[in-house]
Symmetry: C2
Subunit: 362 residues, 2 copies
C-alpha cells in the first residue's frame, strides 16, 4: 500500500493506493469519527462490492448504523433530484451530523455523494472509495463535488474535501475497457500540462496500463494524484493555476452537453477536447505539429476517441462554452499546452483559430 498526503492545512487527507483495500476495516476505523455510516453507491457497483464492504463494517461491531443508498447508474442521474433522494434516505435513517458518507463508485457517485455530504446538515464527513481509474486519478484529489443542471455540467456544487480516499486496484478488474481508457485520458492530461518525464513514461507504458499491470497502475495513479495534489495545494478554490487541470475540459464539456449527458464518457470527451486544445496551440504557434502528433498518438494508444462526434456545429461549441464555469466576465479562457509538460491559461484566443482547430478535429 502506498499513501499520498494531500496537503490542505486542516483539510489535509491521505490517499491510500494498493490492492484489496476497499473493505480493509482499519482504514474506516481510522477515518470514521462518529458511529453512523451511509454507503452511497450505484446499481452496477452494488452487486460487486457492496455486500462485502457492508459485512466488513457491520460485523466489526464498531459502528452503530451502516446503511446503504443505491442509486441508478449514469451521469444522467447526477442531478439535484437524485441528491434529494440521498437526503431523504439519510433523514429517514436518522443520520445525524456525525455520520460519515462513504462514496463507493466512480466519479458520478463521488461527485454526488461528496456534494450530499457537503450539504447534509451543512456538512458531514465523507470517505471516497473510487471504483474507476478516472475517479482515482481525478475526482479523488481536489474536493470538487457537484451535480449537473440541465443548462450546464457541474454547475451546482461545493469545494469539499474527503477525510480519506481508498484507491483499490482490485476494483479496476471489473471495469469495462472503455471506462479504463476514459481514466487514461486524465492520466495523459497530467503528463501534457505538468510533467514531460511522466508523458515519456506513459508513451512507453501505455500498453501495460491497458493490460492492468499492477506496478504500472500504481505508478500512474500515484504520479497523477501527486501532480493534481501539487496543483490543488497551490490554488484550492481555482482562482488561478488550478485551471490548468481543465485542459480539454471546456471543449469536452461542450461535447458532453451537446450530445446529452451519458452518451460519451467524460474521459472520452476530454480526450477529444485535449486533441482540439493541442490543435489550437499548434495554430497559435505554441507547440509543434510533432508534439500534436505525440499527444494524438498517445490518446489513440490509450484507445480513446480524438475526433468530434456527431455533427456539433462550431456555433454550438461556442454557445455551450460561453456558459462554462471557466468563462469569467464573458471572456473565454482555454488551457493550452505550450510544450509536452507545460501549459498556460489563454484568454481572447482568436475565434477563427479555434474554429480551425475544431474543424481539424473532425
Amino acid at each position: 500500500m502506498q499513501t499520498i498526503n494531500v496537503d490542505l492545512g486542516e483539510r489535509s487527507y491521505p490517499i491510500y493506493i494498493g490492492s484489496s483495500l476497499y473493505n480493509e476495516l482499519g482504514l474506516y476505523v481510522e477515518h470514521v469519527r462518529g458511529n453512523q455510516i451511509a454507503i452511497v453507491t450505484n446499481e452496477t457497483i452494488a452487486p460487486l462490492y457492496l455486500e462485502s464492504l457492508n459485512a466488513t463494517l457491520t460485523d466489526s461491531g464498531k459502528f452503530k448504523v451502516v446503511d446503504s443508498i443505491i442509486l441508478p447508474d449514469g451521469e444522467e442521474y447526477k442531478s439535484l433530484s437524485t441528491l434529494d433522494n440521498i437526503f431523504s434516505e439519510l433523514l429517514k435513517q436518522k443520520h445525524n451530523r456525525t455520520t460519515t458518507v462513504v462514496a463507493l463508485g466512480g466519479g458520478v457517485i463521488g461527485d454526488m455523494a461528496g456534494f450530499a455530504a457537503a450539504c447534509y446538515q451543512r456538512g458531514v464527513d465523507f470517505i471516497q472509495v473510487p471504483t474507476t481509474l478516472l475517479s482515482m486519478v481525478d475526482s479523488s484529489v481536489g474536493g470538487k463535488t457537484a451535480v449537473n443542471h440541465p443548462l450546464g455540467k457541474n454547475m451546482i456544487g461545493a469545494f469539499y474535501q474527503p477525510r480519506a480516499v481508498i484507491a483499490d486496484l482490485l476494483v479496476l478488474e471489473t471495469l469495462e475497457q472503455r471506462e479504463l481508457s476514459a481514466g487514461l485520458a486524465e492520466v495523459i492530461k497530467y503528463g501534457i500540462i505538468y510533467d514531460q518525464n511522466f508523458f515519456d513514461w506513459l508513451e512507453k507504458n501505455i500498453g501495460k496500463l491497458i493490460a492492468l499491470d499492477p506496478e504500472a497502475l500504481i505508478f500512474a495513479i500515484k504520479r497523477s494524484c501527486q501532480i493534481k495534489a501539487e496543483i490543488v495545494a497551490q490554488d484550492e478554490k481555482e482562482h488561478g493555476s488550478r485551471a490548468l487541470l481543465n485542459l480539454g475540459h471546456t471543449f469536452g464539456h461542450a461535447i458532453e452537453t451537446a450530445l446529452g449527458y451519458g452518451v460519451m464518457l467524460h474521459g472520452e470527451a476530454v480526450a477529444v477536447g485535449t486533441h482540439i486544445a493541442a490543435l489550437t496551440s499548434e495554430s497559435l504557434g505554441l507547440i509543434t505539429k510533432e508534439m500534436v502528433k505525440r499527444i494524438k498518438d498517445l490518446l489513440v494508444a490509450a484507445q480513446l476517441p480524438i475526433y468530434v462526434p456527431g455533427n456539433i456545429s462550431n456555433e454550438r461549441f461556442f454557445e455551450l462554452m460561453a456558459v462554462d464555469k471557466k468563462v469569467l466576465d464573458g471572456t473565454l479562457r482555454l488551457i493550452l499546452p505550450t510544450s509536452i509538460g507545460t501549459s498556460k491559461i489563454a484568454e481572447n484566443v482568436d475565434r477563427l483559430l479555434i474554429d480551425r482547430a475544431i474543424d481539424a478535429a473532425r
Copy 2:
C-alpha cells in the same frame, strides 16, 4: 451608520446598520468584485424596494449585468425546488463565477439566496440586505444558509459567509407587527443566553422597540449582532458553544414541522420553545420560578406566543426532536438557561422533566 465587523479571518465581513442604506450605491461598489449582480427577492419585497435598488445599481453604470429573481413569499418555498429555479435563472442570464448574489428579503430569502450563492458554480459572492428584524439580528451573522426538506427544517445547507450585510431600519417600517415581534424573540434570546444587562435593558425598552424607536432599534440590533458574532467567532462550524444560539430552537423546529412550515413564524415558534426551555430549566432546578416569569413576561410584552399551539402530542415532539440537527449520536441536546444571561448545553435530560415542561406550556 454603525458598522460591526464579524471577525472570521479571511471570511470576515462588515454589518452596516443605519437608516436608508439599502440602496446606498457606495456599499455595493465596495463589496461587489465582478460586474454581474443578481438580486434575489420575493413577491412581497419586490414592489416595495426592488425597483429602487435595481435603478440605483443599473443607473450607476458600474455593473454590466443587474438581474432580479423574484421568488414566491413564504417558508414553504424554502426548498430544493425553489433553489433549482434560482440556478436556472442564473444560468439563463449567463451569470459566471464572479457574479454577486444580493439577498433582498427576510430570513427565508437570505437562507436560500445564500445557499444558492454557496453552490452556484461551487460558490459565488453574496451580500445580504435583510428586510426583517429577525434576519438582521439572526441570519445576517454566522453564515448559516439552508433550505428545508420535507423530513426536517434547514437540513440541506452550507456554512457560507456573506461579503457584507446591509441592515436598513427604513425597511422595518413596512414590516408587519407580527414579523417584528418574531424578530424580538431572537433579540430576547441573546439576553437570556449571554447578557444579563441586555436582558434588563430589553425589559425596560421593549415598548420602544415595538414602536420602532430608531435609537432603541439600532442598539438592540447592534448588541444582538455583537453577541452572535462573538459566539460564532469562537465556534464557526457549531462544534460546541455556538449551539447556545439554539435556545428554544429544538422545541421550536418541532413545532414548525408539526404544524407545517409557514403556519407559525419561526420567531414565534422560538418564543414558545424558549418558554419550554425555561420551564425545563426550572424543573431541573437550574433557574428559579421568578426567572421563568421574567422570561415569559418579556416574551409576552414583545407580543409573542408562549404556549404550544394546536394539539401536538409529547410523543410527536420527541419524534421530531430526534431528527433535529442538534441530536448527536442519538443524544438529545437541549440549550437551557442557567440564569438570566447564562446558559448551557444539556444532554440526557430526563424525558419526564421535558414532558412536564411541555405540558406546563400548554
